[in-house]
C-alpha cells in the first residue's frame, strides 16, 4: 500500500509538472465558461437551448474531453516512458510491477476526477450566479458528476491496454482515440450490440436523475462497466508483468 501511495504521488507530480496537463485543466475551465455562456445566449431558442448547463457540459466532458485526455495521459505514463527508458527509474526500485501499474492507473483516475471537478465547479457557480439554479437541481448535478467517473474507468483501462501494446506514444494516442471512435461508431451503426459496449454509457448519469431511479437498469450497467474494467485490467497487467525493458 505504501508503494502505491508513493507511486500515485510521483505520477501526479510528474503530470502536473508538465505544461500540457496544467494547460488542459485551464482549457477545461475555459470550455466550461464557453458552454455556460452559450447556455445563457441560447436561452429561449427552442431546439438549441441548454436547459441544464452543468449536465450539458458533463455530457461533452464524458463523451469527448475526457476520452481524449485519457488517451494522452496513458500514452505519456506508459508508452512514452517505455520509449524513452524513464520507466526504468521505477522498475529498478523495490516495487512490484502490479503496484506500479495500479499507481499509474489511480493517478489517471485522479486527474480525470480533477477535470470533472473543474467542469462541475465552473458550471455550478455560473448557473447559481446567473441562472438562479435551485437546490434540487444542485443536488442532482452533484450526483450526476459523482457517478460519471464510473463509465470513465473502462475507458481508462482500455487506453492502458492499448498503450501496453504500442511501441511509441503517438501511435498509442491515435490507436486509443480511433479505437474509442470505432467502438462508439459501432454502437450507433449496430444498435443491437450497443447495450453491450462500454462506450454507450458515458452518459449513464441520466439513469440517476429525474423522477425515478431504475435500480435494476443501473445495476446491469454497473456490472457491465465493472466487467469491462476488470477484463482490460487483467490484460494490461499481464502484458505489463511480462514486459522486458
Amino acid at each position: 500500500m505504501k508503494a502505491i501511495k508513493a507511486g500515485v504521488r510521483n505520477e501526479i507530480v510528474k503530470m502536473l509538472s508538465r505544461k500540457k496537463y496544467r494547460t488542459f485543466l485551464l482549457l477545461t475551465f475555459l470550455i466550461s465558461i464557453a458552454i455556460c455562456s452559450l447556455g445563457e445566449f441560447t436561452k429561449g431558442f427552442i431546439g438549441i437551448s441548454l436547459t441544464n448547463t452543468p449536465l450539458a457540459l458533463l455530457s461533452l466532458a464524458t463523451g469527448f474531453i475526457l476520452p481524449l485526455m485519457i488517451a494522452m495521459a496513458t500514452a505519456d505514463l506508459f508508452t512514452a516512458e517505455q520509449e524513452n527508458g524513464s520507466i526504468k527509474a521505477i522498475i529498478t526500485r523495490p516495487v512490484s510491477r502490479m503496484d506500479i501499474l495500479i499507481s499509474k492507473v489511480l493517478s489517471i483516475v485522479l486527474y480525470t476526477l480533477s477535470v470533472l471537478v473543474v467542469c462541475l465547479v465552473t458550471s455550478l457557480v455560473y448557473s447559481i450566479a446567473f441562472n438562479g439554479m435551485g437546490l434540487s437541481s444542485i443536488g442532482e448535478t452533484l450526483l450526476a458528476y459523482a457517478v460519471s467517473i464510473v463509465p470513465m474507468l473502462p475507458i481508462i483501462l482500455f487506453a492502458v491496454t492499448v498503450s501496453q501494446l504500442c511501441k511509441n506514444s503517438s501511435s498509442a494516442v491515435m490507436l486509443s482515440v480511433f479505437g474509442y471512435i470505432a467502438i462508439f461508431a459501432a454502437s450507433i451503426a449496430l444498435p443491437t450490440i450497443s447495450p453491450m459496449l462500454f462506450t454507450s454509457y458515458t452518459r449513464w448519469y441520466k439513469l440517476f436523475i429525474g423522477a425515478g431511479m431504475p435500480i435494476t437498469n443501473i445495476l446491469n450497467v454497473l456490472t457491465l462497466l465493472v466487467a469491462y474494467t476488470l477484463i482490460f485490467f487483467a490484460i494490461s497487467s499481464w502484458v505489463f508483468e511480462k514486459k522486458e525493458y
Partner: protein
C-alpha cells in the same frame, strides 16, 4: 557473497544474447565486465536488475533469488543501466524525491547529501532537459547511490563523456567504494577506464564469459588490461579454429 550468477542464459529473437554466464562478486569488489558492444554486458545487467528475464540460470543477491524475491533483491541495489533513467521535465531534486518516495528512510537531508556528493547541489532546481550529458550521468549515479545500496550496478557509466566527465564519474565511484564500502559491478568497452577502477575483471564476447581474473593477475600477465583483453579474445579465436 554479494552477487552470484550461475549459468545465466538468454536468447533474443535475433539469436543474440548470453550463454551460460557464471561469476561471483564479493563484498568490497569493484568488478568490471569488459567486452565490445553486443557482448552481453547490458543483457546480464538487465537480468540482474529485473528489467529483463533469463531463459535459464539463477541469480542470488545477498542470498535472495532475483527470480523468486525480486523486490527484496532490489532493496539492496542501485543501478544505472544504459542511459540514466530520468524525467527530463522534472528538476534534479524532483527526480531524486520521486525515487526517495519508495524508501521509508530516505528523506530530504539524504537527497541534499547525494546532490552534494555528485556535484549537482547548485543545479538541484534546474530541469534535467537543460543538463549536459555529464550532468545527466552524474544524476544517474546520484539516483543509483541514493538508497544506501550495498551493490551498485553501472552499465557503461562513462559512455559519451568527455575526459573531465569520465574523471568525475571515476572519482565518485572510487570514493563511494572506499568510504562507504559499496560493492560495484561496472560494465564498459573501455579497457583503460576499467583498469583504473576495478580490482576484478571478466572478459565477455558474443554472449560468452571468456575469462575472469583479478586486476593484479591481469597486470602481471599482460602489463595492461587492453593487452589482456586482446590476448583472451585471440586465444578464444584460436581455440574455435
Amino acid at each position: 557473497m554479494v552477487l552470484t550468477i550461475n549459468n545465466l542464459s538468454k536468447t533474443y529473437r535475433n539469436g543474440r544474447g548470453i550463454k551460460g554466464i557464471s561469476f561471483q562478486v564479493q563484498e568490497g569488489d569493484i568488478y568490471g565486465l569488459l567486452g565490445p558492444n553486443g557482448s552481453g554486458k547490458t543483457t546480464t545487467m538487465k537480468i540482474i536488475t529485473g528489467l529483463s528475464r533469463a531463459d535459464q540460470g539463477d541469480i542470488q543477491i545477498f542470498g535472495s533469488s532475483v527470480e523468486n524475491d525480486g523486490e527484496k533483491s532490489l532493496e539492496q541495489i542501485g543501478c544505472l543501466i544504459e542511459a540514466p533513467a530520468v524525467y527530463e521535465y522534472l528538476s534534479a531534486k524532483q527526480n531524486l524525491e520521486n525515487a526517495a518516495a519508495y524508501y521509508a528512510d530516505i528523506k530530504a537531508p539524504r537527497i541534499e547529501d547525494i546532490l552534494k556528493q555528485t556535484g549537482l547541489l547548485q543545479y538541484q532546481n534546474d530541469k534535467v532537459k537543460d543538463f549536459s550529458l555529464g550532468m545527466k550521468q552524474r544524476l544517474g549515479l546520484a539516483l543509483a547511490l541514493l538508497s544506501y545500496p550495498k551493490l551498485v550496478i553501472l552499465d557503461e557509466p562513462a559512455n559519451g563523456l568527455d575526459i573531465e566527465g569520465m574523471v568525475a564519474i571515476r572519482e565518485i565511484i572510487l570514493e563511494q567504494a572506499k568510504l562507504k564500502g559499496i560493492t560495484f559491478l561496472i560494465s564498459s568497452h573501455l579497457a583503460h577506464e576499467l583498469e583504473l577502477i576495478c580490482n576484478k575483471i571478466a572478459i565477455m564476447k558474443d554472449g560468452n564469459l571468456l575469462k575472469t581474473a583479478t586486476m593484479e593477475e591481469v597486470i602481471e600477465q599482460s602489463g595492461t588490461l587492453e593487452n589482456y583483453f586482446l590476448e583472451t579474445i585471440r586465444s578464444g579465436k584460436e581455440k574455435s579454429l
